[in-house]
């Protein structure tokens, strides 16, 4: 997204946003095609293809940055679409408090999640810290259709898109996300109709003419996919991102998905069984980009283009045909670029990539261990201890990542770390993780009886040594305390968790799956109540995997006594809030 000052023009945006070599070298084609997909005929060369219609990004809008701004009263409204941050985000209490500063909150989900109920049923309300009548946030709950009740795509982490067809109408007022976004846009456009205010052009000129069908005027998901997949000026479909142009002759909603509607066929809906194709299975669904199942697969052949191993051959150079070929996967490389190709000095974009350089998204076509640009904490990986660690960093004089994002504020206190006074008050390592039976914050699994009964209660996993040391009983209850909150969990004493000898000391680990909250069929405290915000500076993800804590036998105190327990720990550890 363009920034207001740095990107006064499309040209400048392209210049600053991609290396000029490799696949990113064609960014102007991807951008112009995107603008054509969004603003159609209104996007012309004269108006920089409506580049100025794009919203400007004016800061860090990642999740935690937004929640912190919200906490300070700087965010008016929030859409949570299938998102349950009061269970799923670190420092759950902070998330809850931030929501109470909103004017309005719109949620789309299958049931009233913890986030949807934050104003009348939260740990803070239970303990008496917050009262419903003091929360001014207006909450709108929009029931959502499940994937079985709508057409659309699943994309998995391996980049594979698999189309699913609607099996039945959603019940009651439940609607698809597509329905909701489309009709919200339609209504806004109706309200603005006839406006001559130039700033409304961005909305009025949008290509919003998606066909609708069925009893609820469901927009045609297939039509949206066609827009994403890309077309030529004559309406025919593009087959890959190389066909995109920056002269306005092509329109494509997402360059990495270019070709998903090649030949006028929803490629992601192909379901040819494995018995009718080889194991590469290129006709099962579609993978971005260009149905490439293994990215950078030219690397499966040596610099001369011969398979490194005949047994593992995958993509190789066919000298006779003068083409890359293979077991069926799309060669992720210009199809006829010879292995010994060397670019000239003036070559740019893909032409600047050597014939033996498979990593086409990098400007030099090489895989990087040394990353001179792109990473805030590059150029080489190094070990840092986490924000809260009971140990010193033995590998590197710098204890913690100096570029990490920490927020010293009363709602987000940190524990003293190794060597600091008070560190011993939180002597154990806390780690959080997931179980197979539950899905993230539980909105889709703690509401399902067959999944809920398989993992019905929050538990913590500890070693027999820690159990003995702290008098914790298998099957009993434990209270886990951090400077953020105290939660209770059933105790699982197991040999799977081992106490380790580290730097001459015994280190105990407390493992806690994070899926529970106060709503649904199975309820419990949430592990994320314990964690602080401590973010990495590249993608702003918090340190969910490690913090420090204390653990003690028995259930946690109720009501105000809960906060008093946490307060007592803070005092002993010298944590200032």
């Amino acid at each position: 997204m363009p920034e207001p000052d740095a990107h006064p023009s499309l040209e400048r945006f392209v210049e600053l946003n991609g290396p000029s070599n490799g696949a990113w070298g064609e960014l102007s084609s991807y951008m112009v095609s995107l603008l054509k997909a969004w603003w159609g005929d209104a996007a012309t060369e004269d108006n920089e293809f409506c580049f100025h219609n794009l919203p400007r990004i004016d800061g860090d809008h990642s999740h935690y940055a937004t929640m912190l701004k919200m906490l300070d009263g700087g965010v008016k409204g929030f859409f949570a679409v299938g998102q349950n941050p009061t269970v799923g985000s670190a420092n759950a209490r902070l998330q809850c408090m931030a929501l109470s500063k909103l004017d309005w909150l719109v949620l789309r989900d299958f049931s009233e999640t913890e986030t949807a109920a934050f104003w009348h049923d939260s740990p803070e309300i239970e303990s008496g810290d917050v009262r419903t009548e003091d929360i001014g946030t207006e909450v709108f709950f929009m029931p959502a259709a499940a994937y079985t009740e709508k057409d659309g795509n699943f994309t998995n982490t391996q980049r594979l898109l698999q189309w699913h067809h609607k099996a039945l109408e959603p019940p009651g007022d439940c609607r698809s996300d597509l329905h909701w976004i489309y009709h919200l846009g339609r209504r806004i456009r109706e309200k603005l109709a006839g406006s001559d205010d130039p700033r409304d052009r961005a909305i009025l000129d949008l290509t919003w003419g998606y066909p609708v069908h069925g009893p609820h005027d469901e927009p045609d998901a297939d039509a949206v996919l066609r827009e994403i997949g890309g077309r030529q000026a004559d309406g025919s479909f593009v087959s890959g991102y190389e066909e995109l142009e920056d002269d306005g002759s092509t329109a494509c909603g997402s360059w990495i998905h270019a070709g998903i509607y090649a030949d006028g066929v929803n490629q992601s809906a192909r379901k040819r069984p494995h018995t009718e194709q080889n194991w590469v299975a290129t006709e099962w669904g579609w993978a971005w980009p260009k149905n490439t199942r293994l990215l950078y697969n030219r690397a499966s052949a040596d610099p001369e283009g011969k398979p490194w191993s005949e047994r593992k051959r995958y993509v190789w150079w066919d000298a006779e045909e003068g083409r890359w070929t293979g077991l069926g996967d799309n060669p992720d490389f210009p199809p006829d670029k010879e292995p010994d190709y060397e670019p000239g000095r003036r070559d740019r974009a893909m032409a600047a990539i050597r014939g033996d350089a498979p990593f086409v998204l990098h400007p030099d076509g090489l895989g990087w261990i040394y990353a001179p640009s792109g990473l805030v904490d590059g150029p080489l990986p190094v070990h840092y201890e986490p924000q809260e660690s009971p140990f010193e960093n033995r590998l590197y004089a710098q204890q913690q990542n100096p570029t990490r994002q920490v927020f010293h504020r009363p709602e987000n206190p940190y524990h003293p770390t190794d060597g600091e006074t008070g560190a011993a008050v939180f002597p154990f390592v806390l780690t959080t993780y997931r179980l197979t039976e539950h899905h993230t914050a539980g909105g889709m699994s703690r509401t399902v009886p067959y999944l809920s009964e398989l993992q019905p209660e929050l538990f913590c996993e500890i070693s027999p040594q820690l159990a003995q040391e702290r008098g914790l009983e298998h099957g009993g209850w434990a209270t886990i305390v951090s400077a953020r909150q105290a939660i209770e969990a059933r105790v699982m004493v197991t040999d799977r968790v081992q106490s380790l000898e580290v730097q001459g000391r015994t280190m105990h680990v407390v493992g806690v799956p994070y899926h529970w909250g106060r709503r649904g069929l199975v309820t419990g405290d949430s592990a994320n109540e314990l964690l602080p915000l401590a973010l990495d500076s590249n993608v702003h993800i918090s340190e969910y995997k490690v913090a420090t804590c204390d653990i003690r036998p028995g259930r946690r105190p109720r009501g105000r006594d809960r906060a008093a327990l946490v307060e007592e720990y803070r005092r002993r550890a010298g944590v200032k809030v």
Binding site: T436, L454, P456, E457, F459, V491, M492, D495, Q498, L500
Partner: protein, 297 residues
């Protein structure tokens, strides 16, 4: 042709289908419980919440009227060296490191292995449940499987005590017995059972029993060759106490470790003896009656 049962294929004549069943290869079960859920979904089985059991990740505990697939989780302490056979690759690597580098993997040098195993009705060749059922609710299908007809079962419960595996169970508030049907409805539709289809690792393999046994023998040989000396097939032997099962298993340890009986026997095999005893009792009773009748004179 795999072991013939009393009613199959004989009583079906030309309508008999090949005998089908499961080979459950527990060595590749990842404990996802997809089989449990798929079975409940397909067969619309009531939920059966038991709360937190503390038995590792197993909160189901047993087969029952409302649980037709059950995934057991067994945590075992094993030596963390190559001989311990924890995970083959891992143990081999660790073993090498321990020897070469003098590396200790944990304080006591112990490793842990987590056995997972999906249990189900065995669809025995000699199925005691079926033989003791007085109403004919339990029957042998044309596929050689054992099924309860819910509209015939009167809830007498004879089969519950007859099953050597404790599979059969009366549903509370309903009184009738329920168990795995090997998805009889799906078989009639030429579809594989729900649990087998859901299993992402193919730990549950569905097919014709003869073919499955061959596959299982090959897999066993492979695992043994890789050093899993305790690996064994369970209920794949027609000479065992139930004449082999339609649903048999590859286990990585003794059956008891998984909570399975080591030598299950079809209780009907004792029936000869029982009948003899009953006959004697009846004769004695008869004599008593005669004495009573005539003694009154």
């Amino acid at each position: 042709m795999s072991a013939e049962t009393l009613a199959w294929p004989g009583s079906y004549g030309g309508d008999a289908k090949p005998r089908v069943g499961f080979f459950t290869d527990t060595s590749i079960c990842i404990g996802c419980k997809a089989c449990e859920v798929a079975c409940k979904e397909w067969n619309r089985i009531p939920e059966s919440p038991q709360g937190f059991t503390g038995k590792s990740y197993d909160n189901t505990l047993d087969l029952g009227a409302n649980t037709w697939r059950h995934v057991a989780f067994i945590e075992q302490r094993v030596p963390a060296d190559a001989d311990g056979g924890a995970s083959l690759v891992e143990a081999a690597e660790r073993g090498g490191l321990v020897e070469r580098e003098g590396l200790a993997t944990s304080k006591e040098g112990d490793g842990v292995r987590w056995l997972m195993s999906s249990d189900v009705c065995k669809h025995c060749t000699e199925a005691a449940c079926l033989e003791v059922c007085p109403t004919g609710a339990l029957f042998r299908t044309e596929f050689g499987t054992v099924v309860v007809q819910e509209d015939v079962c009167n809830g007498c419960g004879y089969c519950v005590s007859a099953c050597p595996f404790g599979v059969l169970d009366r549903r509370e508030g309903d009184g009738r017995v329920w168990k795995c049907t090997l998805c009889y409805d799906r078989l009639k539709d030429d579809r594989e059972p729900a649990c087998a289809q859901a299993c992402p690792t193919n730990s549950i393999q569905f097919g014709e029993v003869d073919e499955l046994r061959e596959r299982a023998e090959k897999r066993l040989a492979k695992l043994r060759g890789d050093g899993q000396s305790e690996a064994r097939l369970y209920l794949a032997d027609e000479e065992d106490g139930i004449g082999g099962a339609g649903a048999f298993f590859l286990l990585l340890d003794e059956p008891e470790v998984y909570g399975l009986p080591p030598d299950p026997v079809d209780s009907r095999r004792h029936l000869g003896a029982i009948w003899a005893a009953t006959g004697a009792a009846a004769a004695a009773l008869g004599a008593g009656l005669v004495a009573a009748v005539f003694g009154g004179r």
